[in-house]
């Protein structure tokens, strides 16, 4: 059992203090701190998540998210801000061409007046249309379900943006500077939420989930949908959850509760 699987990043259980403690203690001692918990780059990773760069992602894992709309406040933008900070996404004051990896969407039923607010980002589909239509194979899905764009192979045709039912992708219209080394971007190519793959691979939570847990409503849960013991799987098994445009049969990895 992986370290990630035994300690799923649930909204309730996750403790950021513990994580930073682990990080600093490991840097000093360079030892495994607890049975079953190994630190990336120090001990040989046993988990599918905290794996070495030379180890391929495993299809034993299907990373996913569950977002509880009862805890998602319309005015709260913590996830969006955290994503922008983490991945170096800046607004140029041109909303039509500015990139957005995650956005808050407000929906309202015109008959009943019931309204909801929810974050929408790349839904990391099991059958991603963006991957199907990409002429060069720049859009791809990792074995663990994370959908990414190879920025070296993307030619900027934007066919994936035409195909995505979630408007999850952005074309980089502007010159970029001060990029984050872990989230390289490129003018003239297409990009979208990476599920913070750099953090997930280092056994950390995506930035949006972490921010939602720490300073937001605690609505976002990240984990392994393939592991029946993970918190996310238990919640999905216990409560009705929905995928956006489930009718398209794309099996998104992002699910919503109370939608």
């Amino acid at each position: 059992m992986s370290a990630r699987k035994t300690k799923p990043g649930t909204a309730a259980e996750y403790d950021p203090g513990r994580r930073s403690f682990l990080g600093s203690a490991a840097a000093a001692a360079g030892v495994a701190l607890a049975p079953g918990v190994f630190l990336y780059g120090i001990a040989k990773p046993e988990s599918a998540a905290a794996r070495g760069l030379d180890v391929a992602a495993s299809s034993d894992v299907r990373w996913g998210m569950l977002i509880d709309l009862n805890r998602c406040d319309s005015g709260c933008n913590e996830c969006v801000n955290a994503c922008a900070t983490e991945n170096g996404i800046k607004s140029h004051g041109r909303p039509e061409t500015d990139a957005q990896w995650i956005r808050k969407v407000d929906i309202r039923d015109p008959r009943s007046g019931l309204s909801r607010s929810l974050p929408v980002m790349c839904q990391h589909c099991a059958e991603p249309p963006c991957v199907d239509v990409c002429p060069t194979g720049a859009s791809f899905k990792r074995a663990d379900g994370i959908v990414l764009v190879d920025r070296h192979r993307c030619i900027g045709c934007r066919y994936c943006m035409m195909a995505c039912p979630y408007k999850a992708r952005s074309f980089v219209h502007e010159e970029l500077e001060d990029q984050k080394p872990h989230a390289p971007r490129g003018k003239g190519t297409v990009e979208s939420c990476t599920m913070c793959v750099h953090r997930v691979d280092a056994d950390e939570l995506p930035a949006c989930v972490e921010a939602c847990t720490n300073t937001g409503g605690g609505a976002m849960l990240f984990g392994d949908l393939n592991d029946p013991d993970s918190e996310i799987s238990k919640r999905v098994a216990s409560y009705p959850t929905r995928q956006i445009r489930a009718d398209l049969g794309l099996d998104p990895g992002v699910r919503y509760q109370n939608l």
Partner: protein, 410 residues
């Protein structure tokens, strides 16, 4: 049938040179416009993260669809053995190549990273319709060049029907593929439809013949060559039939969508509430591109008045205007209507969810389209000057196999 004589145009007149210069300037303007206009970024373009493909793609679709349609004239001769069309074969092939190269120029300049064209050549994802289309486009040009060579080299003439058949099959697949770029987009209500492929084939017949008619008539007029009413009538009538077929497919497309309640939103948008798109649909696509050409081409034939060169040219121009309207409604209008992520709900966000999106083409985008059309024109102009594409005459006596017989009968 008499032997057909082809000859180059003289191409020394001031008008010819000015035309070449103007077209060349447009091509250069497009290339430099893209290079300098987009050097600092793409935010000056009309296309954005919401309307993803802009006016250049309208031009590209027109040129690519018209390319396969322009080849039809040659196909009618070599595959369907209509000898009347024999003298028109060569120009048909030249025009097809020229139009497709124009379309490919746009597709290349339209990339976010035009410098990475080589990446597209080396990496092909075969589940992508676009990747297939790159193969279909380059294959088309290769096949048509060989087809053309068989026509121009007398020893190879016997292979013309075989080459024509291959070209015919290839072009049907190509145009179906071009339509399927849109037809396969399941997420967008305006597209997601199997009718797109066949409709694009029908559109290619009409748009391609319209361009062919205009180029032929202009080239003949410019070089002082004759065209008889036998051929003219045939070209006009054929265009009219193709216009009807396009209208038929448009009716099927919209009626099918209207019947499905889930698509009624996008249909209301295009047909009634869409502002510029509604205007372009009814005024451009249906009236100017459909009904008016039909009146011009068929309206007076019962009184024994048959279309003249000018009428056929005018009808062809109207068909082309309608074609641009139709493609604008399809490409831009289809994207302007918001994605329906939450059916039945009112949706809003900072990312333009749930609202009709606005699009205004930029100068660079229009320049790219005009530059590509100019490239096609330039290829045809230079082609007919250096090689024998154009028949010396298309007078009734030269093209009509029955002409001599009927006139010699007592």
């Amino acid at each position: 049938m008499k032997r057909i004589i082809y000859s180059e145009i003289e191409g020394r007149s001031a008008a010819f040179r000015v035309l070449v210069l103007i077209l060349g300037a447009f091509v250069l303007a497009a290339v430099f416009g893209v290079f300098f206009g987009e050097h600092g970024g793409y935010s000056g373009n009309g296309a954005n993260n919401h309307v993803v493909w802009g006016v250049p793609d309208v031009f590209a679709m027109f040129l690519i669809v018209a390319a396969s349609g322009a080849l039809n004239v040659a196909i009618i001769s070599s595959v369907f053995r209509k000898t009347l069309y024999k003298p028109l074969e060569r120009l048909s092939c030249l025009l097809a190549i020229a139009l497709l190269l124009g379309g490919m120029m746009i597709l290349m300049l339209e990339l976010g990273r035009p410098d990475r064209v080589i990446v597209a050549m080396l990496n092909r994802n075969l589940t992508s319709q676009l990747a297939w289309n790159f193969i279909l486009y380059s294959g088309f040009i290769t096949i048509v060049i060989i087809y053309l060579w068989f026509q121009m080299e007398r020893r190879m003439n016997r292979f013309i029907p075989a080459a024509g058949m291959v070209a015919f099959i290839w072009r049907v697949i190509l145009t179906t593929g071009s339509g399927s770029i849109y037809g396969f987009l399941v997420a967008r209500e305006a597209y997601d439809s199997a009718v797109m492929g066949p409709m694009f084939v029908a559109m290619s017949f009409s748009f391609g013949l319209a361009v062919y008619n205009l180029v032929l008539l202009a080239a003949l007029r410019g070089s002082g060559r004759e065209i008889g009413d036998v051929l003219l009538r045939r070209l006009g009538r054929l265009l009219g039939i193709f216009v009807v077929v396009v209208l038929y497919f448009a009716a099927v497309q919209h009626l099918t969508n209207l019947y499905a309640a889930e698509h009624s939103g996008v249909e209301r948008f295009i047909l009634r509430d869409g502002g510029i798109y509604t205007l372009l649909f009814w005024g451009g696509q249906i009236l100017v591109g459909g009904l008016l050409p039909l009146v011009l081409l068929f309206g007076f034939s019962r009184r024994g008045i048959h279309p003249t060169g000018r009428i056929v040219a005018l009808a062809s121009m109207l068909v082309i205007v309608g074609a641009f309207a139709q493609l604008y409604v399809l490409v831009i209008g289809g994207q302007a209507y918001p994605l329906n992520m939450f059916p039945g709900m009112e949706v809003s966000s900072s990312f333009f969810d749930g609202v009709v999106l606005s699009y205004t083409p930029s100068l660079v985008e229009i320049g790219v389209g005009l530059g590509a059309m100019s490239l096609s024109g330039l290829i045809v102009l230079v082609g007919i000057k250096v090689l024998r594409f154009l028949p010396a005459t298309l007078a009734n006596s030269a093209v009509d196999p029955h002409f001599v017989a009927t006139s010699e009968k007592p």
